[in-house]
Symmetry: C2
Subunit: 433 residues, 2 copies
């Protein structure tokens, strides 16, 4: 609460319209200077296509900014589904951490206002949402190096491998209040797709039998319940929490990770799995976008290679950070002295990565299934207009995902996943059930 | 900070002497009434024999109370090792939770003062510290039922199996500030006994070679490092955090768990393992206390049977709570509908318990090793006056513990542990190295 009451309405949350935003920004000298010219000349457009928030692009004479305002409900569903504005606080907090841990890979925060649940940030231009580029069949040569740097650095440097336990516990506590966003994940990713839920949808009627089978598949229900528990109770690192290709903006030369409002201390495999899942969906959706056979073959090969490189380069960078910056309270080097000790610790690092890979495979599978049988779908599939053609791509993805979730041991390497994905590329599902 | 300054010194922490405590308690009407008579007639004695705090027994005409005050340093070591007074806050918070979750198994809190880091509580009489009773060879017929009720209820009802994820995250955050106490455990239990550390001590010279071997044993160092990471980053439930037999007060008819100042959200196996470790030490120390062969045989049989029952009755109660009160966000019953679903969920409960047992075995091993090679020892061994005789009992315990930690898979059941302990009861170590 402000000690001095502000003019009526100024100390309370309100949903900003374009005109309100203009007045609001005009009062912020640094922002007004960055935009340049008279506020009346600024162009303001609401462009949010996500599920939760308003997003404005403000263009002035000298520069442009993006302004994100949280709504008090889920935009995708409406006012019937309230959602705390505090997520804006956690998003800003996560952006700050990420900017420190992985410089140059997130948009710079220019201003934030907790009351308005608003963040003004660097406008990324000519970046586009990566998912749109993938649907169009575009390849991104910088992506692997950038995203694996982002993953390795944000995850490693917030983990027990890098920081003292006290600092880690303070971090966990700082993000514990973001539980409403975690709950969305817990429900929409780890629960609803596997049971009758009003908000589920899928490409009907083609996938009706598959969806029904997933709702009865107890192997899958056990596996997804283990993943859910791991999601809820494994604060390994500060994770982005929603790291799909719609949360990544790209050019051929740059990569920026945006929208970390789901951030909290959770399992690392959830972020890595999100990236891999969305690339696998881009790959298996690609056949649905080709206008002539083989048209997108080079793109598809790039995507599969990217899936492999995301894991291998992430693992390489993460382990190297552990070797050189492993100053946390876990695995103290004093217990691994000498050449023999160093060799044992190195073997333990590999064992740690093998477990992290298994987690990644399971979480990736969960992320695929929710996009096909749950509430929130993605344009990789949605833009395939012919429902049967879409359903074929989706069925291939579901088959891959089910295997990954239930038989994780059958996927000991990232190559075994891309090989299976490739084998499913032309598999014809039998929609009879 | 108080808005109105209190009389000098009254708003600040100070270490209480007997006279200060008398004046302080005299001003608390409910406490004064409970003690009865004039304050000048109360007898006050400091009886703390723990490692951290002052403990006063105050006896009045009508009743008695116990008063615990945290010192700003580790009592065992001195002012050179500061320790936050906030632990008293966390102890009171834990006692409150435990009283609600496991009624009648913790002392009632009568008064608390965060500034003085002081808790006044029910004086337990004629209860004695269980460890003292075990050294004397006493058996406790109520113990198994009470401690397994305490463990099952406090762990289950603070876990994701019982509570919504949001409530769990709030709980984690509420205890995150107790990290200085966690750090003691991280250092003294999971690190120092395995490296050269100034504060380590052991029964020298008999155990010199064993201690040196433990400092070089890389299998052990990998295993203890995994346990340490699990301790730091697995907030499964609100654990007591220091549940040895010195934190349990008993009579033949009653059991009370005291001193939860190490409480935080951690791995359940740490509490269960602590109970089992301390019973195993009581068993293997027993030979050191016998005055004639076989004198304590009935006691030793009771202890071994108790080790087995602690696990089996705990597991039985925990699983039954899960069946009947499993209303948390983990393993939602809607994913396990029908008879087949129920059977799968039941199988998953057993798998969960098998993993929890493995954790318990590992943590129990860590608790044994730290009491023999680390800073804090226990009277089970310390009261065996002859150093060689003591070292023999300790060496047997270390051998058992090393096996449990490194070859946990060789101990699939609690019976396999008691059998090994029994086989070691008369093993003669070769102290030559």
């Amino acid at each position: 609460m402000s000690p001095q009451p502000l003019p009526s309405g100024q100390d309370e949350y309100r949903i900003l319209r374009e005109a309100d935003l203009r007045d609001y920004l005009a009062q912020l000298p640094a922002i007004a200077r960055q935009l340049g010219g008279a506020p009346t000349t600024w162009s303001i457009g609401e462009v949010g296509d996500g599920n939760l928030n308003l997003v404005f692009i403000v263009r002035g004479r000298d520069g442009s900014i993006a302004v994100k305002q949280a709504l008090p409900y889920v935009r995708l569903v409406g006012e019937s589904w309230p959602l705390p504005l505090s997520r804006s606080h956690f998003e800003r907090l996560a952006l700050t951490h990420q900017a420190r841990l992985a410089p140059g890979l997130v948009p710079a925060v220019l201003h934030h206002d907790e009351t308005l649940a608003l963040i003004a940030m660097q406008f990324l231009e000519p970046h586009i949402i990566m998912r749109k580029g993938l649907v169009a069949g575009t390849t991104y040569p910088r992506f692997v190096d950038d995203i694996t740097t982002f993953l390795a650095r944000t995850l490693f440097f917030s983990s027990d491998l890098a920081v003292p336990a006290a600092e880690k516990k303070e971090g966990i506590a700082a993000f514990a209040g973001n539980h409403a966003l975690c709950k969305i994940t817990e429900d929409l990713i780890f629960t609803d797709p596997y049971r009758v839920a009003e908000q589920n949808r899928w490409t009907s009627s083609w996938l009706d039998a598959t969806a029904a089978r997933f709702r009865e598949d107890l192997d899958l229900h056990v596996a997804v319940s283990r993943l859910k528990l791991k999601f809820m109770a494994s604060p390994e690192a500060l994770i982005h929490g929603d790291l799909h290709t719609g949360s990544i903006m790209v050019t051929e030369r740059e990569t920026r990770v945006i929208d970390p409002e789901f951030a909290f201390y959770g399992p690392m495999g959830f972020d890595i799995g999100a990236v891999i899942a969305n690339l696998l969906m881009a790959y298996l959706a690609s056949a649905g976008h080709e206008r002539s056979p083989g048209e997108r073959q080079a793109f598809e090969e790039w995507v599969l290679g990217t899936v492999e490189s995301v894991w291998t380069e992430f693992a390489c960078k993460f382990v190297e950070l552990w070797r050189t910056e492993g100053k946390g309270d876990a695995y103290p080097v004093t217990l691994f002295a000498g050449a023999e000790g160093a060799a044992r610790l190195e073997a333990e690092r590999q064992a740690y990565m093998a477990q992290l890979f298994q987690d990644t495979v399971g979480f990736a599978a969960a992320k695929i299934i929710r996009r096909i049988l749950g509430l929130a779908h993605n344009i990789d599939f949605e833009l395939i207009e012919d429902p049967k053609r879409r359903a074929v791509c989706e069925a291939r993805s579901l088959r891959l995902a089910r295997g990954m979730m239930v038989d994780a041991a059958k996927f000991p390497t990232i190559g075994s996943i891309t090989k299976t994905a490739q084998a499913l590329r032309d598999w014809q599902p039998d929609f009879a059930g």
